[in-house]
Subunit: 687 residues, 2 copies
């Protein structure tokens, strides 16, 4: 502003909402220009050429007492031909203007709607979940490139670099060979106007990862992948607005080399080339998952320009092509635990963008993976005022305990029982699987619900409603419930023994070798399975839940805490488990029932946060360095806790909250099972 | 040194030669430590552990009047067990000590022999060539890595990084996935002691490119590759001392897609996938060349950790997998001309080190390649006091003209005639090819020499000596000589016409259609070829040499010079050409004969300089930006010069130096050849 002389006709005040940023600008300044100079978050891909419409704004007219301002109807320049054409062809919400076309004439209040903000929030569906602030590593930019000049020879890439520097202040971009191949034809096809996708991370140079002639109208996408031992889950997200376009999953094909992590490590140790074989299998599966999820969302897989991965250390090493043998033995040394930024092509992801980038979240320790880091990113224990225990149950359980002052992590070898494996009638969660169980404490008669049907088994019409799938087995959450219900119904004692028909008064307690089993469902009349809960099933779940509890308890010891304030159950399993039954079983420390939360697939959410918000990558890298790792395998107290946690509920700590919630029958069935009986109980019987 | 009190027994003066660096050190300081602190160029791979012996030094004893010093016999600590063991097992030159073992006790003069200097000079064989100062991007470092600790979990890579930072002050090294795969087994095999090769360039992070358990005794190597349209030439160099371990060449397999650059560009334009086909062919050839050259030098090809490339723009684009179509038409736009630093694997070089790096020298313009940049790097016109013209003759001629104040460059389309193509009896340089010719000016009888035999054709025993190969044709340098000799013998007039037998008085001038040919050799009696120089051959060479001269002349115009001080002939052809004959032909501007030099394969030398001296990479990148490019294709004066240069010698400029050297017969054979005769003359005749 010139030297003190008030020249009210020469500039005007602009106030942007919701940011509140304000400034005076010369009359005639485009709104987009003013926004940029004030650092207002107003999107633009075309750089103000009236092509992209990303800079839509809503001018406010009339009285703004809060700002002490009255905005005149002619505060902005008149609706112009570019806006007219845009509205006619693409449509524009009433009251909206294009920020690059509307010029400031008088004092004005300008609202930037969420869709026009680069850093808008992605609102998540559940109240328990936090929003994601959009700040993607990859964004598109429209540029006009100088044509080649024989008298001043310079490469097309150099002129594109110059354009990016001059038009977008992006300096020193690099480009990988596969994309460089397309540069010349794309520039000519677009008549020297192109849209480039530029990837800018918290480290390394900016990179061109996509290239289209003219203004690119399509979406650019990213994949957030949670690579589990059993399933590979992926979310396909729009990198501009963060929308989840599709979510899809696939069995991890490595299962054929071993159900759990350690059997895959063994496979690699015993078979020359075994690790490479598993690497190939998982890479091909991920590549095909990328194709199918893009297909589902009707997106060109080539427009997937970024992928983030979360996974446990064994999956991590196998994906990268590193033999996981060291992870199978003390001291469980990782080849590398730091985050990685790679070309997707280096991981054999050939169906997506040729120059797509991969970000692999950091690992925490040899047993505590990037999946756990992703849970920490999603659930933020380090920002919790109360002491929160976060449990991500998979084949291994990842456990985090902490608050603002300190976060601890460990991994506990729960085995696959919680996923329905090693259970006589166990199965994966799929239509027909029993997922909810109630047992009447008086009659000892059960009722249950299966996945895919809202009726209870005792409701009329259940048989008809489940005719298509039948009742096929019990999934992980179902097995937790049935065992807890058996305990509550007095069919099971605190030591985990199933009583006989005589002891329990229920004819459903049938002999099974030298022990007993509880008959949950007899489908033999319809050629269906006879579904029982055997003594072996109880033992398998006892081992798994003891490992989980012992891990949590070890972290509490380390923290010097004898109780936690809050429990968060993460993972697909955590989302389906009934907190009440988990407490009865003694899987988790005793807390009030309303202090148990489900975070859904927190690891997957962490992958999605890392995908959509580049600042979160640096944050989790720093966060992981601050997490204190506890190694369960070398901690003698783990074994002590493990043994003490065997009882149902555990015998380790008092459980006042549980006692207030339920009555635990004082039963005891002192029939010691014979040494061979459990094995027999593991086999599934059919009628 | 403590507060002013002279404590002569506490420290000692050390003077290093040849650097002259000096300093005082506490008694007991190892010589290596003193050298490092003073910045003396004393090599060490093991970091002072007495393993590598790279830090050998020669202490001087007695009087050093120049330094005013008398060195006592006990100036260094006694010969120790490590040195003893080293000498016993590996041998150590008398008088040498290991710098890491010998400790400074009294004032001493220490000589660092050339072999112990990292930055030693590689002495080149010819006096005309400059030495190369060793400063390789890739060096080996021996490190001791901390073992993993379950209580402080960290990846093996993180601990290796820590070791490199602590032991070698190398921070933030990166490692590519293929090498990361080997990290864990190598660390364990070496019992946590490893040798790593680290690549540090003038940009980008340092990278681990090699990894060996324990102390690596072998050589690490680099390949300098001159990728020509016709031949691929490679030098295999030791990256520690710069020695050329082997040199080898291979035909460029792209020849089957087109003899010259433009026919390859056409092939790419006319055949879908044609560019990719040529890319594949040349990459495979280079990979196999790497294997065979390593084999020749008895080096493991996996120990080749770096490759530098120089090449013309079309070869450049095809190697990188970029369609060269834009290089075939104005404005001859490059996809990119800047230097490139790549993973060798990205170019399909799979036989060399898995993490080997490639450096591609910058291009100058669409027609002026990295080969020309390499010539500039080798011949340094920008450091020349006099005005030097550098000509690199291949299928295209790359021409540089300049001095300290300014350097110009252009490319001139000479075509393949200088390489023996398009010549009726032309052939590549190979045993049996005529390379030297003399014609008696009186008898008009020729004598010649062939490659592989030191005798002249008129010497007794010539037939026997060449029986194995025969006389097969004329190579490039031979055709220059025979045409110049024909001109000197009066068989050819200034316009390029061959006289008849009557006009010249030589029965060797035989009719050939409506023109004449000169019979150089009749091998028909032995079933060999009849070798003639036809009117068509003369025309082909006239076109080629006119293009070359016109290019040089254009640069002289641009420089405002009517003469040059010095001519450097580069390239394989330049090495074999006779300066006298080149002057007679009018290929190059008129200079005194002793101001014409051959630089040998200057492009290959440039590739080798870039390989061995990393600072040269930044230098040539900056140098290329300063070179002014002249585009012959759009310069009308090029065409004028081209026409005027047709005469033998050219009719453009006076040639006092040539006139002082030879007498040019004033003959004129005014028989205009018919329109169809030249074509006939191009075909090779056999007896």
């Amino acid at each position: 502003m010139p030297d003190g002389t008030p020249e009210t006709t020469r500039d005007a005040l602009v106030i942007f909402t919701p940011s509140g940023k304000r400034g005076r600008f010369a009359v005639g300044t485009p709104v987009l220009t003013a926004a940029r100079q004030l650092g207002v978050d107003l999107d633009s891909v075309c750089g103000g050429r009236g092509i992209c419409s990303k800079c839509q704004i809503t001018p406010g007219y009339g009285e703004f007492p809060k700002h002490g301002l009255t905005v005149a109807a002619d505060a902005l320049s008149e609706w112009n031909a570019v806006e007219d054409r845009y509205k006619r062809i693409r449509g524009l919400i009433e009251g909206r203007r294009l920020g690059c076309q509307a010029r400031i004439l008088r004092d004005v209040v300008i609202d930037v709607p969420p869709e026009s903000q680069v850093h808008r929030q992605v609102i998540r569906k559940s109240a328990a979940q936090r929003d994601i602030a959009m700040d993607p590593a990859t964004r598109t930019f429209y540029v006009e490139v100088a044509e080649p000049d024989m008298h001043e020879p310079s490469g097309d890439l150099q002129r594109l670099r110059d354009a990016l520097r001059q038009q977008w202040q992006i300096d020193g971009v690099e480009i990988d060979l596969p994309l460089l191949r397309h540069l010349q034809p794309v520039l000519r096809k677009g008549d020297w106007k192109v849209t480039v996708a530029v990837h800018r991370e918290h480290r390394g140079p900016p990179r061109i990862t996509g290239l289209w002639p003219g203004f690119f109208e399509g979406r650019i996408c990213g994949l957030a992948i949670d690579l589990g031992s059993t399933t590979i889950a992926a979310h396909l997200c729009d990198l501009a607005d963060g929308a989840v376009l599709a979510s899809s999953g696939l069995m991890n094909p490595q299962i054929r080399f071993g159900e759990d992590l350690m059997s895959r490590v063994s496979y690699a140790m015993m078979n020359p080339g075994g690790a490479a074989e598993m690497t190939r299998a998982v890479r091909e599966a991920i590549d095909s998952l990328a194709r199918s999820i893009a297909d589902e969302a009707k997106v060109d897989p080539r427009h997937i320009l970024e992928v983030t991965f979360v996974m446990n250390p064994v999956m991590h090493h196998l994906l990268l092509g590193i033999d996981p043998v060291e992870l199978g033995q003390a001291p469980f040394a990782l080849a590398t635990g730091e985050s990685l930024s790679l070309a997707a092509a280096d991981l054999g992801l050939v169906s997506i963008g040729e120059a797509a980038r991969v970000y692999v979240l950091p690992l925490i320790a040899g047993h505590v993976g990037a999946d756990c880091a992703a849970v920490a990113l999603s659930e933020e224990p380090d920002k919790s005022d109360d002491l929160v225990l976060i449990v991500d149950v998979g084949t291994n359980a990842e456990i985090l305990l902490g608050n603002r002052s300190r976060v601890l992590a460990c991994s506990s070898p729960t085995g696959p029982a919680f996923e329905g494996a090693q259970i006589s009638s166990g199965q994966r969660a799929a239509p027909g699987a029993i997922e909810r169980v109630e047992i009447d404490p008086v009659t000892k008669e059960p009722r249950f619900r299966v996945i895919g049907c809202d009726l209870w088994s005792t409701d009329p019409g259940f048989a008809a409603a489940t005719a298509a799938t039948g009742v096929t087995g019990i999934c992980g959450s179902g097995i937790i419930e049935v065992i807890a219900e058996m305990r509550l119904a007095g069919l099971l004692d605190a030591g985990g023994l199933i009583g006989s028909a005589e002891q329990t008064g229920s004819p459903r307690c049938i002999p099974e070798g030298r022990t007993h089993a509880y008959l949950l469902h007899d489908g033999s009349a319809d050629n269906g399975p006879v579904i029982t809960v055997t003594q072996g099933d109880i033992r398998a779940i006892q081992l798994a839940k003891s490992a989980l509890y012992a891990g949590a308890r070890l972290l509490m010891d380390e923290m010097g805490a004898d109780r936690v304030d809050r429990v968060v159950l993460a993972g697909a399993f955590g989302a389906h488990i009934s907190p009440r039954h988990a407490l009865v079983l003694g899987m988790i420390p005793d807390v009030p029932l309303d202090r148990v939360f489900s975070a859904g697939n927190a690891a997957g959410t962490g992958a999605r946060i890392a995908l959509l918000n580049v600042a979160s990558r640096a944050a989790i890298e720093a966060g992981v360095r601050r997490i204190h790792k506890v190694e369960t395998a070398i901690e003698p107290r783990f074994q002590e806790h493990f043994v003490a946690a065997n009882a149902i509920p555990h015998a380790t700590d008092p459980f006042p909250n549980l006692r207030a919630l339920v009555t635990l029958p004082e039963v005891s069935f002192n029939v010691r099972p014979g040494p061979d009986s459990e094995g027999g109980g593991r086999r599934r019987r059919r009628g």
